[in-house]
Amino acid sequence: MPAATLSIPPSVEHVRTARLVAVAAARRAGLEESVVDDVRLAVGEAVARAVLRHGTAEIGEEVDVVVRDDGAIFEVEVHDRTAPDVGDEDDGVALALVRVLVPGTRLEVRSPGTCLTLTWLRPVPA
């Protein structure tokens, strides 16, 4: 079961809510505070990207965020509902930053949109 599943309207004022949820889950998962900072920034960029893509594509439906804390990995999926060829200009900096922060970032087409999956390794419990 995900540690949290959040849906927000596709508007920039709600991106912060997604950051709060991801950070709370990252702390629960026992990630170091410097990694929690990366989670905050990367999830913020990923959700901002999704919201801006919905804006470009004029899609009013929600953006979905799923936070998983399963065994050795901490993972955040950000689902948008836009076609893969939407607005690849606008989200350039955001996506580049996510890729630098989270080396294992996966971007997939997952109907009805695209899904960005950010994965962090969780420290082995003492």
Binding site: V15, D37, L41, G44, E45, A48, A94, L97, V100
Partner: protein
């Protein structure tokens, strides 16, 4: 609410103080103030982010845009950063190579 932006004069420069979070929602506030200043020919700027606890790529873009305008006018842009969380965003994007970062407004004014 999430971001407060104010401007004052100090040491012959214009100091813009941001307090709160600079993100995709709030960055337009900072952009508006910096655009207003550069449009007025106020291009010798210190942006004080010492009370900003979060800054995303939208915030960086505002600073990059301001840097270009300031350089076109032979002005200067210095930025005050204290939070490691904020400093890191500048480092990983390499923006700390383009914009001088300072630990305090006093330090920024002394350069």
């Amino acid at each position: 609410m999430d971001l407060d932006v104010s401007t004052r004069e100090e040491g012959g420069r214009v100091v813009v103080v941001a307090i709160g979070e600079v993100d995709v929602f709030t960055a337009p506030q900072l952009d508006a103030e910096l655009s207003r200043l550069t449009a007025d020919g106020r291009t010798d700027l210190v942006v004080d982010l010492s009370r900003v606890d979060f800054l995303d790529s939208t915030g960086l873009s505002v600073l990059v845009k301001t840097l270009k305008r300031v350089r076109e006018a032979d002005g200067a842009l210095d930025v005050v950063v204290t939070a490691e969380r904020v400093a890191k965003v500048f480092r990983i994007t390499g923006l700390d190579q383009l914009i001088p970062l300072h630990p305090s407004v006093a330090d920024a004014l002394a350069t």
